[in-house]
Amino acid sequence: MASITNEGQAPTSQAELLYQAQLRKERVFRTHVGVSWGVLFLILIFLFSGQDIKIGDFTIVQTINIDTEFMLKNITFIAGGLGQTLLISVLSILFAIMMALLAALGRLSKFPPIYALSTFYVSLIRGTPLYLQIFFFFLALPQLGIVLSGIVSGVLALGLNYGAYMSETFRAGLSSVGKGQREAAMALGMTPGQTMRRIVLPQALRFAIPPMGNDFISMTKDSALVSATGFVHELMWRATKVGRSQFNSLEALIMAAVFYWTLTLILTYFQGKLEARLSKGDR
Protein backbone atom coordinates (compact mmCIF):
# COMPACT_ATOMS: atom_id res chain seq x y z
CA MET A 1 0.00 0.00 0.00
CA ALA A 2 3.03 2.27 -0.08
CA SER A 3 2.76 4.77 -2.86
CA ILE A 4 5.74 6.10 -4.69
CA THR A 5 6.01 9.85 -4.68
CA ASN A 6 8.60 11.91 -6.42
CA GLU A 7 8.03 15.36 -5.03
CA GLY A 8 10.11 18.22 -6.23
CA GLN A 9 10.79 16.84 -9.65
CA ALA A 10 8.35 18.33 -12.12
CA PRO A 11 8.07 15.78 -14.87
CA THR A 12 7.67 17.35 -18.28
CA SER A 13 6.04 14.37 -19.86
CA GLN A 14 3.80 14.62 -22.89
CA ALA A 15 0.75 14.25 -20.66
CA GLU A 16 1.92 17.05 -18.40
CA LEU A 17 2.43 19.38 -21.39
CA LEU A 18 -1.02 18.58 -22.76
CA TYR A 19 -2.51 19.19 -19.35
CA GLN A 20 -0.77 22.56 -19.06
CA ALA A 21 -2.00 23.55 -22.52
CA GLN A 22 -5.55 22.66 -21.54
CA LEU A 23 -5.32 24.70 -18.35
CA ARG A 24 -4.04 27.67 -20.34
CA LYS A 25 -6.94 27.35 -22.74
CA GLU A 26 -9.44 27.33 -19.90
CA ARG A 27 -7.77 30.36 -18.31
CA VAL A 28 -7.90 32.31 -21.56
CA PHE A 29 -11.57 31.44 -22.01
CA ARG A 30 -12.43 32.63 -18.51
CA THR A 31 -10.54 35.88 -18.99
CA HIS A 32 -12.36 36.60 -22.24
CA VAL A 33 -15.71 35.92 -20.66
CA GLY A 34 -14.83 38.30 -17.83
CA VAL A 35 -13.79 41.05 -20.21
CA SER A 36 -16.97 40.61 -22.25
CA TRP A 37 -19.05 40.89 -19.08
CA GLY A 38 -17.27 44.16 -18.36
CA VAL A 39 -18.04 45.48 -21.84
CA LEU A 40 -21.72 44.51 -21.60
CA PHE A 41 -21.89 46.19 -18.22
CA LEU A 42 -20.36 49.40 -19.58
CA ILE A 43 -22.82 49.39 -22.48
CA LEU A 44 -25.68 49.06 -20.01
CA ILE A 45 -24.38 51.99 -17.99
CA PHE A 46 -23.86 54.01 -21.14
CA LEU A 47 -27.47 53.36 -22.17
CA PHE A 48 -28.65 55.02 -18.99
CA SER A 49 -26.06 57.77 -18.90
CA GLY A 50 -28.13 60.54 -20.49
CA GLN A 51 -25.62 61.27 -23.23
CA ASP A 52 -26.55 63.50 -26.07
CA ILE A 53 -23.89 63.14 -28.72
CA LYS A 54 -24.24 65.66 -31.52
CA ILE A 55 -22.50 66.49 -34.70
CA GLY A 56 -23.38 70.09 -35.32
CA ASP A 57 -27.10 70.32 -34.59
CA PHE A 58 -27.82 66.69 -35.35
CA THR A 59 -28.20 64.28 -32.48
CA ILE A 60 -26.70 61.00 -33.52
CA VAL A 61 -26.81 59.14 -30.24
CA GLN A 62 -29.10 59.91 -27.39
CA THR A 63 -29.16 57.68 -24.31
CA ILE A 64 -31.68 57.46 -21.54
CA ASN A 65 -31.53 60.22 -19.03
CA ILE A 66 -32.22 59.17 -15.47
CA ASP A 67 -32.97 61.35 -12.51
CA THR A 68 -29.94 60.79 -10.31
CA GLU A 69 -31.12 63.30 -7.78
CA PHE A 70 -34.25 61.24 -7.19
CA MET A 71 -32.14 58.13 -6.89
CA LEU A 72 -29.81 59.60 -4.29
CA LYS A 73 -32.76 60.88 -2.30
CA ASN A 74 -34.60 57.56 -2.25
CA ILE A 75 -31.84 54.99 -2.19
CA THR A 76 -31.92 54.56 1.58
CA PHE A 77 -35.69 54.17 1.55
CA ILE A 78 -35.56 51.40 -1.06
CA ALA A 79 -32.52 49.74 0.50
CA GLY A 80 -34.47 49.66 3.75
CA GLY A 81 -36.55 46.89 2.14
CA LEU A 82 -33.60 44.50 1.85
CA GLY A 83 -34.07 43.35 5.44
CA GLN A 84 -37.72 42.48 4.84
CA THR A 85 -36.90 40.75 1.57
CA LEU A 86 -34.30 38.59 3.28
CA LEU A 87 -36.52 37.98 6.29
CA ILE A 88 -39.41 36.74 4.13
CA SER A 89 -37.07 34.61 2.05
CA VAL A 90 -35.41 32.99 5.06
CA LEU A 91 -38.68 32.31 6.89
CA SER A 92 -40.31 30.99 3.71
CA ILE A 93 -37.43 28.70 2.82
CA LEU A 94 -37.38 27.25 6.33
CA PHE A 95 -41.10 26.60 6.13
CA ALA A 96 -40.67 25.22 2.61
CA ILE A 97 -37.94 22.80 3.73
CA MET A 98 -40.22 21.49 6.46
CA MET A 99 -43.13 21.05 4.05
CA ALA A 100 -40.89 19.48 1.41
CA LEU A 101 -39.49 16.97 3.86
CA LEU A 102 -42.96 16.00 5.09
CA ALA A 103 -44.28 15.74 1.54
CA ALA A 104 -41.30 13.65 0.41
CA LEU A 105 -41.61 11.29 3.37
CA GLY A 106 -45.36 11.10 2.80
CA ARG A 107 -44.70 10.14 -0.77
CA LEU A 108 -42.68 7.17 0.49
CA SER A 109 -45.39 6.12 2.91
CA LYS A 110 -47.14 2.79 2.52
CA PHE A 111 -50.16 4.20 4.34
CA PRO A 112 -52.66 5.32 1.64
CA PRO A 113 -54.08 8.46 3.37
CA ILE A 114 -50.59 9.84 4.01
CA TYR A 115 -49.46 9.09 0.46
CA ALA A 116 -52.65 10.71 -0.87
CA LEU A 117 -52.24 13.78 1.33
CA SER A 118 -48.72 14.29 0.03
CA THR A 119 -49.59 13.92 -3.66
CA PHE A 120 -52.76 16.00 -3.22
CA TYR A 121 -50.79 18.87 -1.71
CA VAL A 122 -48.12 18.81 -4.40
CA SER A 123 -50.69 18.61 -7.19
CA LEU A 124 -52.85 21.44 -5.82
CA ILE A 125 -49.92 23.80 -5.34
CA ARG A 126 -48.29 23.01 -8.65
CA GLY A 127 -51.60 23.37 -10.42
CA THR A 128 -52.18 26.99 -9.35
CA PRO A 129 -50.16 30.20 -9.78
CA LEU A 130 -48.00 31.44 -6.93
CA TYR A 131 -49.53 34.90 -7.39
CA LEU A 132 -53.00 33.43 -6.79
CA GLN A 133 -51.79 31.58 -3.71
CA ILE A 134 -50.39 34.73 -2.15
CA PHE A 135 -53.67 36.54 -2.74
CA PHE A 136 -55.63 33.60 -1.46
CA PHE A 137 -53.99 33.86 1.93
CA PHE A 138 -54.19 37.61 2.03
CA LEU A 139 -57.55 38.38 0.42
CA ALA A 140 -59.65 35.20 0.38
CA LEU A 141 -59.07 34.02 3.92
CA PRO A 142 -60.32 37.25 5.58
CA GLN A 143 -63.69 36.50 3.97
CA LEU A 144 -63.74 33.41 6.19
CA GLY A 145 -62.80 35.48 9.18
CA ILE A 146 -59.12 34.58 9.09
CA VAL A 147 -57.06 37.73 8.87
CA LEU A 148 -53.36 37.21 8.42
CA SER A 149 -50.75 39.92 8.31
CA GLY A 150 -49.01 40.53 5.01
CA ILE A 151 -45.83 38.87 6.12
CA VAL A 152 -47.57 35.77 7.48
CA SER A 153 -49.64 35.27 4.35
CA GLY A 154 -46.54 35.85 2.23
CA VAL A 155 -44.48 33.33 4.15
CA LEU A 156 -47.31 30.77 4.15
CA ALA A 157 -47.87 31.10 0.42
CA LEU A 158 -44.19 31.11 -0.57
CA GLY A 159 -43.36 28.31 1.84
CA LEU A 160 -46.22 26.08 0.71
CA ASN A 161 -45.44 26.77 -2.92
CA TYR A 162 -41.70 26.15 -2.73
CA GLY A 163 -42.26 23.18 -0.42
CA ALA A 164 -44.32 21.45 -3.10
CA TYR A 165 -41.61 21.91 -5.71
CA MET A 166 -38.78 21.09 -3.33
CA SER A 167 -40.43 17.87 -2.26
CA GLU A 168 -39.39 16.45 -5.61
CA THR A 169 -35.76 17.32 -4.84
CA PHE A 170 -36.04 15.68 -1.46
CA ARG A 171 -37.64 12.62 -2.94
CA ALA A 172 -34.79 12.29 -5.41
CA GLY A 173 -32.38 12.71 -2.49
CA LEU A 174 -34.09 10.00 -0.47
CA SER A 175 -34.12 7.58 -3.36
CA SER A 176 -30.46 8.34 -4.11
CA VAL A 177 -29.63 6.46 -0.91
CA GLY A 178 -29.25 2.83 -1.96
CA LYS A 179 -31.19 -0.09 -0.56
CA GLY A 180 -27.93 -1.53 0.75
CA GLN A 181 -27.59 1.37 3.17
CA ARG A 182 -30.95 0.61 4.76
CA GLU A 183 -30.15 -3.08 4.89
CA ALA A 184 -26.80 -2.46 6.58
CA ALA A 185 -28.53 -0.30 9.18
CA MET A 186 -31.27 -2.87 9.70
CA ALA A 187 -28.74 -5.66 10.05
CA LEU A 188 -27.08 -3.66 12.84
CA GLY A 189 -30.45 -3.66 14.58
CA MET A 190 -31.47 -0.06 13.90
CA THR A 191 -35.16 0.78 14.02
CA PRO A 192 -36.74 2.36 10.92
CA GLY A 193 -36.63 5.73 12.72
CA GLN A 194 -32.94 5.41 13.56
CA THR A 195 -32.19 4.27 10.02
CA MET A 196 -33.94 7.35 8.65
CA ARG A 197 -32.31 9.82 11.05
CA ARG A 198 -28.80 8.42 11.18
CA ILE A 199 -28.27 6.89 7.75
CA VAL A 200 -30.77 7.96 5.09
CA LEU A 201 -31.54 11.62 5.86
CA PRO A 202 -27.93 12.82 6.23
CA GLN A 203 -27.11 11.37 2.81
CA ALA A 204 -30.34 12.59 1.22
CA LEU A 205 -29.83 16.12 2.57
CA ARG A 206 -26.30 16.27 1.26
CA PHE A 207 -27.74 15.41 -2.14
CA ALA A 208 -30.47 18.03 -1.79
CA ILE A 209 -28.44 20.97 -0.47
CA PRO A 210 -27.22 22.40 -3.82
CA PRO A 211 -30.72 22.49 -5.37
CA MET A 212 -32.03 23.94 -2.10
CA GLY A 213 -29.51 26.75 -2.43
CA ASN A 214 -30.83 27.49 -5.90
CA ASP A 215 -34.36 27.52 -4.57
CA PHE A 216 -33.39 30.00 -1.90
CA ILE A 217 -31.89 32.31 -4.52
CA SER A 218 -35.11 32.11 -6.57
CA MET A 219 -37.08 32.75 -3.41
CA THR A 220 -35.38 36.11 -2.80
CA LYS A 221 -36.80 37.25 -6.10
CA ASP A 222 -40.22 35.61 -5.89
CA SER A 223 -40.62 37.32 -2.54
CA ALA A 224 -41.24 40.45 -4.61
CA LEU A 225 -44.72 39.08 -5.35
CA VAL A 226 -45.62 39.60 -1.72
CA SER A 227 -45.43 43.35 -2.35
CA ALA A 228 -48.71 42.98 -4.21
CA THR A 229 -50.52 42.58 -0.92
CA GLY A 230 -49.40 46.10 -0.11
CA PHE A 231 -48.55 45.38 3.48
CA VAL A 232 -45.02 44.04 3.39
CA HIS A 233 -42.50 46.78 2.96
CA GLU A 234 -39.82 44.86 1.15
CA LEU A 235 -37.68 46.00 -1.80
CA MET A 236 -40.29 45.75 -4.51
CA TRP A 237 -43.01 47.44 -2.50
CA ARG A 238 -40.74 50.36 -1.65
CA ALA A 239 -39.58 50.72 -5.24
CA THR A 240 -43.09 50.83 -6.66
CA LYS A 241 -44.29 53.14 -3.90
CA VAL A 242 -41.73 55.91 -4.41
CA GLY A 243 -41.63 55.31 -8.15
CA ARG A 244 -45.35 55.75 -8.67
CA SER A 245 -45.90 58.65 -6.34
CA GLN A 246 -43.17 60.76 -7.87
CA PHE A 247 -43.49 59.46 -11.42
CA ASN A 248 -39.97 58.08 -11.26
CA SER A 249 -40.71 54.38 -11.70
CA LEU A 250 -37.82 54.03 -14.14
CA GLU A 251 -35.27 55.07 -11.55
CA ALA A 252 -36.97 53.27 -8.68
CA LEU A 253 -37.19 49.98 -10.54
CA ILE A 254 -33.60 50.25 -11.75
CA MET A 255 -32.50 50.63 -8.15
CA ALA A 256 -34.57 47.65 -7.04
CA ALA A 257 -33.17 45.62 -9.92
CA VAL A 258 -29.61 46.49 -8.90
CA PHE A 259 -30.34 45.39 -5.34
CA TYR A 260 -31.89 42.08 -6.41
CA TRP A 261 -29.12 41.40 -8.88
CA THR A 262 -26.38 42.17 -6.38
CA LEU A 263 -28.07 40.01 -3.79
CA THR A 264 -28.29 37.17 -6.29
CA LEU A 265 -24.62 37.53 -7.25
CA ILE A 266 -23.55 37.40 -3.61
CA LEU A 267 -25.76 34.39 -2.83
CA THR A 268 -24.64 32.60 -5.99
CA TYR A 269 -21.03 33.09 -4.95
CA PHE A 270 -21.66 31.41 -1.59
CA GLN A 271 -23.76 28.74 -3.27
CA GLY A 272 -20.79 27.93 -5.51
CA LYS A 273 -18.48 27.65 -2.50
CA LEU A 274 -20.93 25.37 -0.72
CA GLU A 275 -21.34 23.17 -3.75
CA ALA A 276 -17.58 22.85 -4.20
CA ARG A 277 -17.21 21.83 -0.59
CA LEU A 278 -19.99 19.24 -0.81
CA SER A 279 -18.71 17.72 -4.01
CA LYS A 280 -15.40 17.11 -2.28
CA GLY A 281 -17.45 15.06 0.19
CA ASP A 282 -17.37 11.40 0.71
CA ARG A 283 -19.06 9.22 -1.75
Binding site: G180, E183, A187, L188, G189, M190, Q194, R198, I199, D282
Partner: protein
Amino acid sequence: MPSSPIVKISNLDKYFGRLHVLKNVSLEVPERQVVCLIGRSGSGKSTLLRCINFLEEPSRGSIEVDGVHVDAEGKGKQQRQLIHDVRLKTGMVFQEFNLFPHMSVLDNVIEGPVTVKGMDRRQAIELAEQNLDSVGMFFKKDEYPMRLSGGQKQRVAIARALTMEPRVMLFDEPTSALDPELIGEVLNVMKKVALEGMTMIVVTHEMGFAREVADRVVVMADGELIEDATPENLFKDPKDARTKALIDRYRSGEG
Protein backbone atom coordinates in the same frame (compact mmCIF):
# COMPACT_ATOMS: atom_id res chain seq x y z
CA MET B 1 -20.71 -32.38 16.46
CA PRO B 2 -20.36 -30.04 19.45
CA SER B 3 -23.22 -28.72 21.61
CA SER B 4 -26.76 -27.70 20.63
CA PRO B 5 -27.37 -25.63 17.48
CA ILE B 6 -27.01 -21.88 17.78
CA VAL B 7 -28.83 -21.38 14.48
CA LYS B 8 -31.81 -23.51 13.66
CA ILE B 9 -33.72 -23.01 10.43
CA SER B 10 -36.89 -25.10 10.30
CA ASN B 11 -39.05 -25.84 7.27
CA LEU B 12 -38.45 -22.50 5.66
CA ASP B 13 -40.37 -21.45 2.57
CA LYS B 14 -39.92 -18.25 0.67
CA TYR B 15 -41.85 -16.93 -2.28
CA PHE B 16 -40.99 -13.91 -4.41
CA GLY B 17 -44.38 -13.26 -5.93
CA ARG B 18 -45.21 -16.56 -7.59
CA LEU B 19 -41.62 -17.73 -7.55
CA HIS B 20 -40.85 -20.42 -4.96
CA VAL B 21 -37.24 -19.66 -4.05
CA LEU B 22 -36.82 -21.63 -0.80
CA LYS B 23 -38.54 -24.99 -0.56
CA ASN B 24 -38.97 -26.36 2.93
CA VAL B 25 -35.37 -25.73 3.94
CA SER B 26 -34.09 -26.90 7.33
CA LEU B 27 -30.57 -26.39 8.63
CA GLU B 28 -28.92 -26.53 12.02
CA VAL B 29 -25.60 -24.91 12.78
CA PRO B 30 -23.82 -25.72 16.03
CA GLU B 31 -21.86 -23.09 17.89
CA ARG B 32 -18.34 -22.32 16.56
CA GLN B 33 -19.00 -24.05 13.29
CA VAL B 34 -18.10 -22.48 9.94
CA VAL B 35 -20.61 -23.38 7.25
CA CYS B 36 -20.15 -22.46 3.63
CA LEU B 37 -23.28 -22.23 1.49
CA ILE B 38 -22.50 -22.84 -2.14
CA GLY B 39 -24.57 -23.20 -5.27
CA ARG B 40 -25.14 -21.57 -8.63
CA SER B 41 -26.60 -18.11 -8.73
CA GLY B 42 -30.36 -18.27 -8.31
CA SER B 43 -30.14 -21.38 -6.15
CA GLY B 44 -31.52 -19.47 -3.15
CA LYS B 45 -28.37 -19.41 -1.02
CA SER B 46 -28.32 -15.64 -0.51
CA THR B 47 -32.04 -15.58 0.16
CA LEU B 48 -31.63 -18.27 2.80
CA LEU B 49 -28.86 -16.29 4.49
CA ARG B 50 -30.90 -13.07 4.38
CA CYS B 51 -33.87 -14.86 5.92
CA ILE B 52 -31.80 -15.62 9.01
CA ASN B 53 -31.75 -11.96 10.08
CA PHE B 54 -35.03 -11.14 8.35
CA LEU B 55 -33.67 -8.87 5.66
CA GLU B 56 -35.95 -11.12 3.67
CA GLU B 57 -39.11 -12.19 5.37
CA PRO B 58 -39.61 -15.92 5.04
CA SER B 59 -43.10 -16.96 3.99
CA ARG B 60 -43.38 -20.02 6.24
CA GLY B 61 -41.30 -21.87 8.78
CA SER B 62 -39.18 -20.57 11.61
CA ILE B 63 -35.75 -19.25 12.51
CA GLU B 64 -34.05 -19.67 15.84
CA VAL B 65 -30.83 -17.88 16.76
CA ASP B 66 -29.26 -18.41 20.15
CA GLY B 67 -32.58 -19.30 21.77
CA VAL B 68 -34.65 -16.56 20.10
CA HIS B 69 -37.37 -18.31 18.15
CA VAL B 70 -39.11 -16.38 15.39
CA ASP B 71 -42.02 -17.81 13.48
CA ALA B 72 -42.27 -16.57 9.90
CA GLU B 73 -45.95 -15.96 10.29
CA GLY B 74 -45.74 -13.94 13.51
CA LYS B 75 -47.05 -10.37 13.45
CA GLY B 76 -47.13 -7.05 15.21
CA LYS B 77 -45.01 -5.50 17.88
CA GLN B 78 -43.89 -8.75 19.43
CA GLN B 79 -42.63 -10.00 16.08
CA ARG B 80 -40.68 -6.80 15.52
CA GLN B 81 -39.07 -7.22 18.92
CA LEU B 82 -38.08 -10.81 18.15
CA ILE B 83 -36.59 -9.80 14.80
CA HIS B 84 -34.68 -7.04 16.58
CA ASP B 85 -33.32 -9.57 19.07
CA VAL B 86 -32.19 -11.85 16.26
CA ARG B 87 -30.46 -8.96 14.51
CA LEU B 88 -28.56 -8.15 17.70
CA LYS B 89 -27.28 -11.71 17.74
CA THR B 90 -26.20 -11.73 14.12
CA GLY B 91 -23.64 -9.65 12.29
CA MET B 92 -23.84 -9.33 8.55
CA VAL B 93 -21.28 -8.62 5.85
CA PHE B 94 -22.57 -7.71 2.40
CA GLN B 95 -21.24 -8.22 -1.08
CA GLU B 96 -21.32 -4.46 -1.70
CA PHE B 97 -19.83 -3.59 1.73
CA ASN B 98 -22.57 -1.00 2.43
CA LEU B 99 -20.38 1.19 4.59
CA PHE B 100 -22.00 4.50 5.48
CA PRO B 101 -20.33 7.01 3.14
CA HIS B 102 -21.04 10.05 5.31
CA MET B 103 -19.17 8.64 8.30
CA SER B 104 -15.50 8.01 8.94
CA VAL B 105 -14.29 4.44 9.32
CA LEU B 106 -14.35 4.72 13.11
CA ASP B 107 -17.84 6.27 13.11
CA ASN B 108 -19.05 3.46 10.87
CA VAL B 109 -17.83 0.93 13.37
CA ILE B 110 -19.18 2.61 16.53
CA GLU B 111 -22.53 3.53 14.96
CA GLY B 112 -24.18 0.22 15.87
CA PRO B 113 -23.03 -0.04 19.48
CA VAL B 114 -23.76 3.63 20.24
CA THR B 115 -27.09 4.05 18.43
CA VAL B 116 -28.54 0.59 18.84
CA LYS B 117 -27.10 -0.63 22.11
CA GLY B 118 -26.73 2.78 23.72
CA MET B 119 -23.13 1.98 24.56
CA ASP B 120 -20.97 4.70 26.04
CA ARG B 121 -19.05 6.39 23.21
CA ARG B 122 -15.63 5.97 24.78
CA GLN B 123 -16.24 2.32 25.44
CA ALA B 124 -17.49 1.84 21.86
CA ILE B 125 -14.40 3.53 20.47
CA GLU B 126 -12.15 1.28 22.50
CA LEU B 127 -13.94 -1.81 21.23
CA ALA B 128 -14.03 -0.48 17.66
CA GLU B 129 -10.32 0.24 17.70
CA GLN B 130 -9.54 -3.28 18.88
CA ASN B 131 -11.61 -4.73 16.06
CA LEU B 132 -10.19 -2.35 13.45
CA ASP B 133 -6.76 -3.38 14.62
CA SER B 134 -7.58 -7.05 14.29
CA VAL B 135 -8.74 -6.62 10.67
CA GLY B 136 -5.66 -4.49 9.98
CA MET B 137 -7.59 -1.25 9.39
CA PHE B 138 -6.72 0.77 12.48
CA PHE B 139 -4.41 3.01 10.43
CA LYS B 140 -7.39 4.18 8.32
CA LYS B 141 -9.76 4.84 11.18
CA ASP B 142 -10.19 8.54 10.36
CA GLU B 143 -10.58 8.08 6.61
CA TYR B 144 -13.87 8.11 4.77
CA PRO B 145 -14.97 4.92 3.00
CA MET B 146 -14.63 6.59 -0.40
CA ARG B 147 -10.86 6.64 0.08
CA LEU B 148 -10.54 2.90 0.71
CA SER B 149 -10.02 0.02 -1.68
CA GLY B 150 -12.70 -2.65 -1.94
CA GLY B 151 -10.73 -5.04 0.23
CA GLN B 152 -10.21 -2.37 2.87
CA LYS B 153 -13.90 -1.49 2.82
CA GLN B 154 -14.85 -5.09 3.35
CA ARG B 155 -12.43 -5.45 6.25
CA VAL B 156 -13.98 -2.37 7.86
CA ALA B 157 -17.42 -3.87 7.26
CA ILE B 158 -16.31 -7.01 9.08
CA ALA B 159 -15.02 -4.90 11.99
CA ARG B 160 -18.33 -3.02 12.03
CA ALA B 161 -20.28 -6.27 12.33
CA LEU B 162 -17.91 -7.70 14.97
CA THR B 163 -18.18 -4.59 17.15
CA MET B 164 -21.83 -5.43 17.76
CA GLU B 165 -20.46 -8.57 19.45
CA PRO B 166 -22.77 -10.96 17.59
CA ARG B 167 -23.07 -14.69 18.30
CA VAL B 168 -23.20 -15.53 14.60
CA MET B 169 -21.65 -13.88 11.56
CA LEU B 170 -23.42 -14.00 8.22
CA PHE B 171 -21.38 -13.35 5.08
CA ASP B 172 -23.22 -12.74 1.80
CA GLU B 173 -20.70 -13.29 -1.01
CA PRO B 174 -18.15 -11.09 0.75
CA THR B 175 -15.54 -11.28 -2.00
CA SER B 176 -17.71 -11.26 -5.13
CA ALA B 177 -17.43 -7.50 -5.69
CA LEU B 178 -13.67 -7.42 -5.23
CA ASP B 179 -10.85 -7.27 -7.73
CA PRO B 180 -9.09 -10.65 -7.73
CA GLU B 181 -5.94 -9.30 -6.07
CA LEU B 182 -7.95 -7.99 -3.11
CA ILE B 183 -9.84 -11.19 -2.33
CA GLY B 184 -7.00 -12.71 -0.31
CA GLU B 185 -6.86 -10.01 2.37
CA VAL B 186 -10.58 -10.36 3.07
CA LEU B 187 -10.47 -14.16 3.18
CA ASN B 188 -7.53 -13.97 5.58
CA VAL B 189 -9.53 -11.77 7.94
CA MET B 190 -12.49 -14.15 7.72
CA LYS B 191 -10.20 -17.06 8.49
CA LYS B 192 -8.91 -15.23 11.54
CA VAL B 193 -12.47 -14.59 12.75
CA ALA B 194 -13.23 -18.28 12.26
CA LEU B 195 -10.14 -19.32 14.22
CA GLU B 196 -11.25 -17.10 17.09
CA GLY B 197 -14.26 -19.38 17.41
CA MET B 198 -17.01 -17.34 15.74
CA THR B 199 -19.96 -19.23 14.32
CA MET B 200 -20.08 -18.32 10.64
CA ILE B 201 -22.42 -18.90 7.74
CA VAL B 202 -20.76 -17.90 4.50
CA VAL B 203 -22.39 -17.70 1.10
CA THR B 204 -19.48 -17.88 -1.29
CA HIS B 205 -18.06 -18.93 -4.61
CA GLU B 206 -14.59 -19.27 -3.08
CA MET B 207 -14.16 -23.04 -3.10
CA GLY B 208 -10.60 -22.68 -1.82
CA PHE B 209 -11.89 -20.93 1.28
CA ALA B 210 -14.65 -23.50 1.72
CA ARG B 211 -12.13 -26.29 1.49
CA GLU B 212 -9.63 -24.76 3.85
CA VAL B 213 -11.72 -23.03 6.49
CA ALA B 214 -15.23 -24.52 6.50
CA ASP B 215 -16.18 -27.31 8.86
CA ARG B 216 -19.06 -28.10 6.60
CA VAL B 217 -20.25 -27.24 3.12
CA VAL B 218 -23.92 -27.07 2.24
CA VAL B 219 -24.88 -27.14 -1.42
CA MET B 220 -28.08 -25.54 -2.67
CA ALA B 221 -29.90 -25.90 -5.96
CA ASP B 222 -33.38 -24.73 -6.96
CA GLY B 223 -34.26 -23.60 -3.45
CA GLU B 224 -33.33 -26.87 -1.78
CA LEU B 225 -30.38 -28.21 0.20
CA ILE B 226 -29.04 -30.97 -2.00
CA GLU B 227 -25.90 -31.88 -0.14
CA ASP B 228 -24.39 -31.33 3.29
CA ALA B 229 -20.93 -32.69 4.01
CA THR B 230 -17.45 -31.96 5.30
CA PRO B 231 -15.29 -30.24 2.67
CA GLU B 232 -13.05 -33.31 2.25
CA ASN B 233 -15.95 -35.62 1.54
CA LEU B 234 -17.74 -33.13 -0.64
CA PHE B 235 -14.77 -32.39 -2.85
CA LYS B 236 -13.61 -36.02 -2.98
CA ASP B 237 -16.92 -37.68 -3.45
CA PRO B 238 -19.86 -35.44 -4.38
CA LYS B 239 -23.14 -37.37 -4.28
CA ASP B 240 -25.31 -35.19 -6.43
CA ALA B 241 -24.67 -34.60 -10.13
CA ARG B 242 -25.28 -30.86 -9.66
CA THR B 243 -22.66 -30.71 -6.92
CA LYS B 244 -20.26 -32.56 -9.16
CA ALA B 245 -20.86 -30.04 -11.94
CA LEU B 246 -20.24 -27.18 -9.53
CA ILE B 247 -16.99 -28.65 -8.31
CA ASP B 248 -15.81 -29.53 -11.80
CA ARG B 249 -16.42 -26.00 -12.93
CA TYR B 250 -14.35 -24.74 -10.01
CA ARG B 251 -11.54 -27.19 -10.79
CA SER B 252 -11.42 -26.17 -14.44
CA GLY B 253 -11.42 -22.50 -13.41
CA GLU B 254 -8.51 -23.22 -11.14
CA GLY B 255 -6.61 -24.46 -14.16
